[in-house]
């Protein structure tokens, strides 16, 4: 009964094909699903001597429509997209932090210096002094807040690395598992292959990299940077290890054959790469720059403040207090030696983290991020400290350092957290010049004091009382020194101050310079302080404090903008790769509907064959009845 068997064979084949169509339709929304197609073939025909009579149809293959090239392009694009999106979204958050006047440094910064300028108009005013203290406190708090926000972003990076490592391990193990089950199968299941491709794309979304098919249908997965995550049936274990210098900070490492190998932090792609890149290129520099601004503010303002005199009649103390630059020993150091650091030259300070190495006789320094050598001078003793990047370092003598010891120097890392107001008594604000000048009441010349400027606040004789007596209009004595020649307009300097006179002094005229008395309403130092924000104190004396604050905003904004642009561009590439893959493997419902119609009709025709065969059979039965 070839007709009947041909009919039933066709019926079964079309039923299977319809099942495949419905499988396709059912999976139209399944991510990573590759459509399947039934390949029909004729059954082996029967040779009757006069020729071959066909035996109907059979299913030759249920094909999974996929193109390895399109799939790997999608993997590449997906890994890179995940990296850039991660980088962009985190950079965007830092950008927002620095752009919003409610959280950024610029607004409070301006208010603080505003308050200093107000003090310069009414130097003894209690309200102005209280305002300056409260603005100073607010500014310090703003530094703390911003730094804390960035610390919490750092913590978030850590958490994401931790959960990312777990996810990588789960995905890698599952891929290895599928590899194992596929290695035994002669005819791999299409759905399992889809599942594996999907897992691989997720894994690469975390680490970047590629997947390579090997003999036996197994897929090996390598991270960007070339470290193996899955080889055949073996999955590597990714773990987090503490940074040797900064234990609170995590790095990714690969555990293989009992040893832990650090993953290349710079080459890694995917979400993890994005996290690490964000930390290294956006968060750390922003935090270092914020710290540098805090150091610059504190150092410059303190120096200015210490050159003035407060309402108690004492020389000003530090206005801000600041922790010393942070030096941490590598956890592998053997000696237990320590370094103590202090800011030596603000103009050279760039906030870059440095690695200091001791080779047994001398020290060398390299950049922590790029590894480039940085010039270093000095021997590390108290008299001859190590000088590097504007920082002076003194090496402990007990215990002394051992050869191979390494230290991480973070010149400005703790500054933004540690900056505090050093004074709380408004009368301690040193708004007055430490010395004041007066003309003797009996002077008959027209000379009056036009200006008195402190040129060297550290001069030990600064506050000493000095009498300047004019012998005649062209000569004067400073105390018992002199006579010195004088022409109108000349300045008179001694003991770290500089005096200028207006008018013409006459013979016998006496001017006195001496310590400013307590409760003076003089505003000389407040005036100097109010202009410090424009003082070019940074980058070798080329950048002002205001400039640095604006520069920080630009730096953070550019990083966020660049990341966003890259992510947008990568999104386009990814969309193209996805469209390519989908045009090959994706399910089109109209196509499936047409297929269904086609197969349905064929199925109905095959059913008709069976009913025809039945008719034929009934005819014979009727004939023999």
């Amino acid at each position: 009964m070839t007709v009947l068997s041909t009919g039933t064979g066709a019926l079964i084949a079309f039923q299977r094909a319809l099942a495949t169509v419905s499988h396709n339709v059912a999976n139209v929304n399944t991510e990573g699903y590759s459509r399947q197609r039934v390949e029909f073939a004729t059954r082996t025909p029967h040779d009757y001597g006069y020729g071959f009579v066909g035996n109907g149809v059979k299913i030759a293959d249920i094909q999974r429509i996929a193109d390895q090239l399109a799939t790997s392009r999608l993997l590449d694009a997906g890994g890179e997209l995940a990296r850039l999106e991660q980088l962009s979204s985190l950079s965007g958050r830092v950008d927002q932090l620095f752009s919003d006047p409610a959280t950024n440094i610029a607004g409070m910064w301006s208010k603080f210096f505003d308050s200093v300028t107000a003090l310069s108009a009414n130097a003894a005013g209690t309200a102005e002094r209280e305002d300056l203290l409260s603005m100073g406190r607010s500014l310090a708090t703003r530094f703390h807040q911003l730094d804390a926000q960035m610390q919490s972003l750092d913590g978030e990076v850590n958490n994401r690395l931790l959960s990312g490592a777990d996810e990588i391990n789960r995905l890698a193990a599952e891929i290895a598992q599928i590899n194992r089950s596929l290695s035994n199968a002669l005819n791999p299941s299409a759905d399992l292959l889809d599942r594996r491709d999907q897992l691989i794309s997720q894994l690469i979304g975390y680490t970047g990299g590629t997947s390579v098919l090997q003999d036996g249908g197994m897929a090996n997965v390598f991270s960007a940077g070339g470290q193996a995550l899955v080889v055949g049936v073996h999955a590597s274990t990714v773990t987090t290890v503490a940074d040797p210098y900064r234990p609170e900070r995590l790095q990714l490492a690969l555990q293989a054959q009992g040893s832990t190998v650090l993953m290349d932090q710079r080459a890694l792609g995917g979400q993890m790469g994005g996290l690490l890149e964000f930390r290294a290129t956006v968060l750390d520099p922003a935090q270092a720059e914020l710290g540098r601004i805090a150091v610059a503010l504190a150092t410059t303002f303190n120096a200015g403040h210490q050159a003035g005199m407060d309402l108690h009649g004492d020389m000003g103390g530090p206005f801000f207090s600041l922790p010393a630059p942070r030096v941490s020993g590598n956890s592998a150091n053997t000696s237990g030696a320590s370094l103590s650091a202090s800011v030596h030259d603000l103009a050279q300070l760039d906030g870059q983290d440095l690695i200091l190495r001791f080779d047994g006789t001398g020290w060398s320094a390299t950049r922590a991020d790029t590894g480039a050598a940085v010039p270093l001078t000095g021997t590390g003793t108290a008299g001859d400290p190590l000088l590097v990047g504007g920082i002076a370092l003194e090496v402990s003598t007990a215990p002394p350092p051992a050869a191979g010891d390494r230290f991480l120097l973070q010149p400005t890392a703790g500054a933004a957290t540690g900056i505090e107001l050093a004074i709380s008594d408004p009368s301690r604000i040193a708004a007055a010049s430490p010395v004041s000048a007066s003309a003797d009441v009996a002077n008959i010349g027209s000379g009056v004091v036009a200006g008195l400027k402190v040129t060297d606040a550290s001069n030990p004789g600064l506050l000493a009382d000095v009498e300047i007596e004019f012998l005649d209009a062209g000569q004067y004595m400073v105390g018992t020194d002199g006579p010195f020649a004088y022409t109108p307009g000349d300045s008179i300097s001694a003991n770290g101050w500089m005096l200028t006179l207006d008018g013409l002094p006459a013979a016998g005229d006496i001017f006195r310079v001496g310590r400013t008395p307590p409760r003076s309403g003089d505003n000389g130092n407040a005036l100097a302080l109010s202009n410090l924000d424009d003082a070019r104190a940074l980058n070798g004396g080329t950048v002002s404090l205001n400039g640095a604050v604006g520069g920080l905003t630009t730096m953070v904004g550019s990083a966020a903008r660049q990341a966003e642009y890259s992510a947008d561009a990568q999104q386009v590439l990814y969309d193209q790769a996805l469209a390519d893959r989908e045009s090959i493997s994706g399910v089109n419902l109209d196509e499936e509907a047409a297929d269904m119609l086609r197969l349905q009709q064929a199925y109905q025709a095959a059913a008709r064959i069976i009913s025809t065969a039945d008719t034929m059979f009934q005819s014979i039965l009727a004939a023999v009845r």
Partner: protein, 399 residues
């Protein structure tokens, strides 16, 4: 791109398009609501960085304006007080002229002296005025306590001579109120350069009516004394009583020597002397004291009368110098006030420039933003309609 499109991609692409449009619309909405083109620094990092500096400059200008007001208040106060002091001195001058009338009785003079005493007190209270916030206006930087204190009959100055400089526009400084020493204390007497005085013990009736630098000869800065050796002859002696010159004189003649001249009228007795030399400084209070002392001296003799007249003349000259000083100080204060006005114009100009620049950097072009908003809205609506239309376009609906 191949001919085949997967249904899933069709949906996800349409969806992605709609989401993209919605994001643009939200951004535009934020911009329209805030009126700012720059929402965060990444929208234009360079402009955002520059805006930080400009914002600071703008805030500084505003603060300079407030500072200028503070100083202007003090300078106006100084102006008022000095005007009042000028009036006081003018009254003193009037009284001195009135007292110079020889027909006044001793009682009349005493009552004038009493009024002068009260003028002196008035001047002292002006000199110790505060600026309204408890700081003494004429004390320099030692403005925490009253700058002028009276001990016995003399007044001493306890302030200093710091004249505060206040920044009222970028790199523009204005000087605060004058220190009191320059206004009330260190005022030169006589004609401002030279002072001539009749000796206290003169027994004749010689009056020193005028003196000064003579039109001929240069003055070496040294003083000398004219000592009458007879009714019409005199010697000129220096401090050590060395006779430098001698001559004859008639009432009303000028005696000139070494670049200085004196005019003496009346009848000096032999031995009477008149000194002339560089004018020392005096303070306003002792000048008035001298006036009072001259008035209260009621020696009825002719010589006593002449001495009183000489003393009155000298004191009137000193009062005139004081009045001049008040005018000088007011002029200086006025110059500073003019500078404050000029600085205000500078500040306003800067303010406008900076605000314009800032506005270009980050303010929104509403016309452009609104038209973009409309275009994007239309695009989103179209995308939504197309999506809805596409939903119905499936073969399954037709079979």
């Amino acid at each position: 791109m191949s001919q085949r499109i997967s249904t899933g991609l069709l949906y996800s692409q349409s969806l992605a398009n709609m989401l993209q449009r919605q994001k643009v619309l939200t951004d535009l909405q934020t911009q329209l609501a805030t009126g700012k083109k720059l929402v965060t620094a990444k929208d234009d990092p360079v402009a955002a960085g520059a805006a930080v500096g400009l914002d600071r400059a703008l805030a500084e200008l505003e603060r300079f304006g407030k500072n200028a007001n503070t100083v202007a208040n003090r300078l106006n106060l100084q102006e008022n007080l000095l005007a009042e002091a000028g009036d006081t001195l003018a009254r003193a001058n009037d009284l001195a002229i009135q007292a110079n009338n020889g027909s006044l009785s001793a009682d009349d003079r005493r009552s004038i002296a009493a009024e002068l005493r009260s003028l002196r007190e008035q001047l002292l209270s002006i000199a110790n005025a505060t600026d309204g916030s408890g700081r003494y206006l004429f004390a320099g930087s030692a403005d925490d306590s009253a700058p002028f204190s009276k001990s016995g009959n003399s007044v001493t100055y306890n302030g200093d001579q710091t004249q505060r400089r206040v920044e009222i526009a970028p790199e523009t400084f204005v000087l605060d109120a004058w220190p009191g020493s320059e206004i009330f204390m260190r005022v030169r007497t006589g004609d401002g350069t030279v002072q001539g005085l009749a000796a206290a013990g003169n027994t004749g009736t010689g009056l020193l009516t005028d003196y000064g630098r003579s039109s001929t000869g240069s003055w070496n800065g040294e003083g000398f004394t004219v000592v009458f050796t007879g009714a019409d002859s005199y010697d000129i002696v220096d401090e050590a009583l060395n006779v430098l010159d001698s001559g004859t004189w008639a009432s009303g003649d000028d005696i000139s020597y070494g670049g200085l001249r004196l005019r003496i009228e009346g009848e000096p007795a032999a031995g009477d002397s008149f000194g002339i030399g560089p004018a020392p400084t005096s303070d306003a209070f002792s000048t008035l004291d001298r006036l009072v002392a001259a008035l209260e001296d009621d020696d009825p003799t002719l010589a006593g009368k002449a001495a009183r007249q000489n003393a009155l003349q000298a004191a009137m000259r000193d009062v005139a110098r004081l009045a001049e000083r008040m005018i000088d100080a007011r002029a200086a204060g006025g110059a500073q006030l003019a500078m404050i006005d000029a600085a205000e114009a500078v500040r306003e100009a800067n303010d406008v420039t900076i605000k314009t620049t800032l506005s270009e950097m980050r303010d929104l072009d509403y016309a452009e933003a609104i038209s973009r908003y409309q275009i994007e809205t239309t695009a989103l609506q179209t995308a939504q309609q197309v999506f809805a239309r596409m939903q119905g376009m499936t073969l399954f609906d037709l079979i």
